[in-house]
Symmetry: C2
Subunit: 365 residues, 2 copies
């Protein structure tokens, strides 16, 4: 590591060392050997059928409740196109993924942020808003290792959210790309599962974190009716998503590649989180944070008086970068930042935090 | 071939025997060996950079004038989103690709069909409409081996179209997926080339016909300004298109795979067209058609009094299918049909046409 090398805590992407390149090569060869017609022909908008079948089995739903897309951002875009009504309220977590905010605002949704706690969205704050007359078309929830906060929605809150969705007739958009990236604590049931087929939940996930981002394979699970509407939209947009990449991902997954990848990824991320928390405690003792049990991100509050908008350029001048907390909020959060530990090596983390501390001192000096 | 096997002249897709499966396997291995980070990481909305560079060289433009997408239908969708103004006129060929009509009508364009002749769109009919006050936002043109007609726009008409575009200030959307699938006659310059950088043309093409449809790789070439706007739209839709598939297509292409594929595809299609024309002359002497010099499709007119809407179910009952001409028109064309010869083997063509003739006789009997 040279002093001039930029250490990036900014991008939520895995480093190449935790991607199973050899496994993907073997999967590409096998997919093209076993099903060249399926991998190379036009498919339909549902995606590569064997992959859809596998996902239906994972989630215990019928195949017509699943649609595989070109990455889960594309799935989100289709769902937003389908569900958002201009001017109508949509509940989001505060903070939430910046691209979610952008996608909703681009479609003129009335975005209603609700506080996010360490155990997930503040369901009683939401209940109060609903009692006060708020009627959202849907609530967008990232239940596991939330982006940007790294927090996870508790089981009790999952159940309460479903109760509210039933009572006030709104959809829960369960956006769950990180679910398998758990390296501590116990897995929780998805709201999709807890809903037991009542159709209150539309679920989206992705292979970006369990295989690789470049394969651009995501998917949705929902009622057959909603999935059918998205299918029409997908057909009219691109005929079919990437059959070659989906056939490769299917072969990789069916041959146990996802399980093997997840083991490697989770071991690496657990070590990175530990290193990050230790380094923060040592170099930035005023920083407040909660060590995530999974995912790519940790939310850090540097406390009152720290202006992260000023810290960022100072940090970049010293060779370290991150994303400002304000990017994930409609207002507030000036002293917060998001640190992604998915793309940094352990040996970069200590140095990166040390540079961050030096940047903070330079502002206060 | 059994009597019960459906012979499909319906779908514009290549048969698996003219796809270079072995070449794609080698390209997948090479891409993942030589550039695993590029093939498997998040990219950006411009596409896989080496592929964009290669396409810029093909077309003699700057790299920022090219954007690689998830198939050219997705490129069309982005361009339509960018260019169509609801209620404003858009010129199309009559007949034209049914998905083009759907995409334009979904966006509330005022669709204005202009007659298509064997040498392309009737430019003097268009000139008359323009003189009469028509001010289209753009004209959608499929210059080579048009879908559905199989006709090719002459050089003189290409030049006249550009002249009209300059005079009346509209964009030409040159939709050109079949350009390399020429098996007779001489290649013509694209309107993109003839425009010499004046920005009157936005060009779209695809690797579906030269590599395989399942790779879902298409692209646009246009002014840096328009491409920049599409880039923002693409970023907000899916972050990046399929990096893995684009890296494979790049490796395949850079290693000469497209040239080899095109030679195989064109030899096969030339034989299929000859067989089709011979069979039609023998079994359906009343059929009027022009043998295409390339592409996947041939337009057939069975003459006055034949109702193709009735012929189709009769043909399907006898084990042969096609697409009705009326699917490609806003009105008229009741006696026409589109025959795709890209997906049928030579031995199926004779039998398919014989079944078609039998179906027609059954209606007239």
């Amino acid at each position: 590591m040279t002093a001039s090398e930029l250490i990036s805590f900014a991008r939520g992407a895995p480093s190449l060392d935790i991607i199973d390149v050899a496994g993907l090569k073997a999967a590409a060869d096998a997919a093209l050997t076993q099903d060249p017609g399926g991998a190379l022909g036009y498919g339909t908008a549902i995606g590569y059928p064997p992959l859809r079948k596998l996902l239906a089995e994972w989630h215990g739903v019928a195949e017509d409740q699943v649609l595989v897309t070109n990455g889960s951002m594309q799935a989100d875009a289709f769902l937003f196109d389908e569900l958002v009504v201009a001017g109508q309220p949509v509940v989001v977590e505060r903070p939430t993924y910046d691209r979610t905010l952008l996608g909703l605002r681009d479609r003129d949704a009335d975005v209603r942020p609700v506080s996010l706690d360490v155990d997930g969205i503040d369901v009683e704050e939401l209940a109060g808003l609903l009692e006060g007359g708020l009627r959202p078309t849907f609530a967008h929830i990232i239940p596991n290792f939330q982006n940007p906060a790294g927090y996870t929605l508790s089981l009790a809150k999952r159940k309460r959210l479903l109760e509210l969705a039933g009572q006030y007739d709104f959809v829960i958009f369960e956006d769950d790309p990180y679910v398998k990236i758990r390296f501590a604590g116990e897995p929780l049931p998805t709201m999709l599962e807890l809903d037991e087929g009542r159709g209150r939940v539309v679920y989206a996930s992705s292979f970006s974190k369990t295989v690789a981002p470049g394969v651009r394979v995501g998917y949705i699970v929902g009622s057959a009716e909603l999935v059918g509407r998205v299918r029409v939209r997908a057909t009219n947009t691109y005929i079919s998503p990437n059959m070659l990449a989906q056939a490769i991902v299917h072969r990789f997954t069916a041959d146990g590649g996802v399980d093997r990848s997840v083991a490697v990824v989770n071991a690496a991320l657990a070590e990175r989180v530990k290193t990050l928390c230790d380094a923060l405690s040592r170099h930035l003792p005023q920083a407040r944070f909660t060590a995530p049990e999974g995912g790519y991100f940790m939310w850090v509050d540097l406390g009152e008086g720290v202006d992260v908008a000023k810290l960022l350029p100072a940090a970049e001048a010293l060779g370290v970068t991150f994303v400002k907390g304000t990017d994930f909020l409609l207002e507030g959060g000036e002293s917060t930042l998001r640190l992604a530990y998915s793309g940094v090596r352990v040996d970069q983390i200590e140095e990166g935090v040390s540079r961050l501390a030096a940047a903070l001192r330079s502002l206060q000096g």
